[in-house]
């Protein structure tokens, strides 16, 4: 089998009975309650749920930034014990380092792992169409551009699993539409497994191949819905709209408006 250099072998993800809790002033606050979940290699799974339900915590556990209190997480059948460049998380804020230029920010993963691959950095910058801005400082970028730099910074590591923690949450609605297309294009091109936290039902339906709906905190899985829509989706597609109605109902919004 020939693997093109721009593609990676996507990761198969498996969560088994994962529970997590925070300690807060001596009290234990459960945030994730017995979540079991699988994502096949190359799948785009949207994690949908009300704000503050614990979806972001779930991504942190999968990224290995924190260890779950109970249960286990497997990537390709080997347990996740800590962070690694094959599972990259992209946050709601771009969190670019202000002391690095755009190019330096994109090269962060290489600096950490002692690689020097200028071509890969250039390719990632090209992929998000920001090569002209490689010498710019982060404070000179707009919100959408900064988030695209963050996307390039994630992609330069050739992640096998990309964890998207509401990366479009703070963008204005037009930039958001552009970025949705951007993410979809990159996912098709690079073929990694993607897990995206969002509370925007429409966004989930436009991007994901599967939608997992969570309850309010502590997060439990309420529904696991495959999205069998064509690759080119339109937000006015009646099938999409009826799915949207179903999911909103799952989330407790039966009055559709």
């Amino acid at each position: 089998m020939v693997i093109s250099p721009s593609r990676t072998t996507p990761l198969a993800l498996r969560l088994e009975h994962v529970s997590h809790a925070f300690h807060s002033d001596g009290a234990i606050v459960p945030v994730i309650d017995n979540v079991s979940l699988q994502a096949a290699p190359g799948e785009f799974v949207a994690l949908l749920g009300p704000s503050g339900c614990g979806k972001s915590t779930l991504l942190r556990l999968i990224a290995g930034l924190e260890a779950p209190k109970e249960g286990a997480i497997y990537g390709d059948d080997s347990p996740v014990t800590g962070p690694g460049p094959d599972r990259i998380i992209m946050f709601q804020d771009p969190t670019l380092y202000p002391w690095r230029r755009v190019r330096g920010n994109v090269a962060l993963g290489h600096d950490i792992n002692g690689r020097a691959d200028d071509e890969a950095v250039t390719a990632a910058l090209k992929l998000v169409d920001l090569l002209d801005f490689e010498r710019a400082w982060p404070h000179q970028l707009s919100g959408g551009m900064a988030q695209r730099v963050a996307l390039a910074r994630a992609l330069v590591n050739d992640p096998r699993l990309l964890l998207l923690d509401e990366p479009l949450g703070k963008l204005d609605s037009l930039t958001r539409l552009t970025m949705q297309t951007e993410i979809l294009r990159v996912w098709r091109e690079k073929q990694f497994t993607a897990l995206m936290v969002t509370h925007d039902v429409e966004e989930a339906l436009l991007l994901a191949t599967r939608i997992v709906v969570f309850s309010p905190r502590p997060a439990r899985i309420l529904a696991d819905i495959p999205v069998s829509l064509p690759e080119r989706r339109h937000r006015d597609d009646p099938k999409l709209l009826s799915l949207r109605k179903d999911i909103l109902a799952q989330l407790g919004h039966r009055e559709d408006w």
Partner: protein, 330 residues
């Protein structure tokens, strides 16, 4: 954004334009005034009789005249525009000082000297002044650089390691606020070499603010910065040197400036009280001999030294923090 703003300003009929035009002849003549002012000061110094037997009057006149010529050349080369008012003011100032003190002797001697007294000190005692400057610089370099390095290390430890913080924070809280000058008598007793004692106290004086501000800078680092690096596999070493310290650099520089000021004070006190060389020692010695012109000369050298070192630190900061949007200009 700013470009758009600039173009809209350019096209708007601006009242400033006319003001600038009217002021233009003055801006053009001012540089040509600086040289003549100094030449007049030179003439007065040379021709008017001294009120007492002052040394180096003619040398001073030559110096003034030379400055006048240099300023005329600068004006001809159009390199004086922004500095012209200062060049004129200094010429007028030195001229008035010369007239008031050397020609009319308005203020009591020897506490108030003449310009030629000062020039005489630099002519006759430049070797000793230069030697003192070098000794001060050497003492300062070791004390300040040592203290700054130590301060950054301690601050990094306080910011990143809970165990280090547990043990070192109480010591910092006890010793830090104490003016290091208060430790001087003890240091001279405990450390046989007064130079080493001076360096140690200067390091303490510089190190404390650097440590506290490095610590607070690291404590204020957005935790998300660490998460971003950790998700790519960064270990503690990378997080310290490539995330925590760069993010804390603006704060560290605040500490470095405070520390530099503190080590200047410590330098002078140490040299006045124990170290047998340097500008502080020269100052003390000059006062002992009532050699007031020497004192003024040493003060001038000292302030030039401190100002130059501050400038170096500002340049370093501007270089390292070129990613910041704006900063104070020195």
């Amino acid at each position: 954004m700013s470009q758009r703003l600039a173009s809209s300003v350019r096209f708007a009929p601006s009242p400033n334009v006319t003001t600038v035009r009217r002021a233009f002849p003055l801006a053009q003549t001012l540089p040509w005034l600086a040289g003549p002012v100094w030449l007049v000061a030179a003439l007065v110094t040379w021709r008017a009789p001294d009120a007492d037997d002052f040394p180096a009057t003619n040398d001073l006149a030559v110096l003034f005249a030379a400055l006048g010529v240099v300023l005329l050349v600068a004006a001809a080369g159009r390199r004086l525009s922004a500095r012209a008012p200062w060049a004129i003011a200094l010429g007028v100032g030195f001229g008035l000082w010369e007239v008031a003190q050397a020609k009319l002797l308005w203020l009591p001697r020897p506490f108030f000297g003449t310009p030629q007294d000062l020039l005489d000190v630099f002519q006759s005692d430049w070797r000793k002044l230069g030697d003192s400057l070098l000794h001060s610089l050497a003492l300062l370099a070791i004390g300040y650089l040592g203290g700054a390095t130590l301060g950054i290390a301690v601050g990094a430890g306080l910011g990143r390691s809970p165990r280090f913080r547990y043990w070192v924070r109480p010591i910092m809280r006890l010793i830090g606020p104490l003016p290091p000058v208060a430790l001087l008598p003890l240091a001279f007793v405990l450390i046989p070499s007064s130079r080493v004692a001076g360096d140690a106290l200067m390091a303490l004086a510089a190190g404390f603010p650097v440590a506290v501000l490095t610590w607070s800078g690291i404590a204020a680092v957005d935790p998300a910065y660490y998460d971003v690096a950790r998700t790519m596999g960064a270990k503690q070493r990378f997080l310290l040197f490539h995330v925590a310290l760069p993010a804390a650099t603006p704060q560290i520089f605040v500490g470095l400036f405070m520390g530099l000021g503190a080590s200047f004070s410590m330098l002078v006190v140490a040299e006045m009280l124990g170290v047998k060389s340097g500008l502080g020692f020269y100052l003390q010695w000059a006062q002992g001999w009532a050699a007031y012109p020497n004192m003024y000369a040493a003060l001038l050298v000292m302030s030039l030294m401190c100002s130059a070192l501050m400038t170096v630190l500002f340049k370093l900061r501007d270089h390292l923090l070129n990613w910041q949007k704006d900063g104070l200009k020195w």
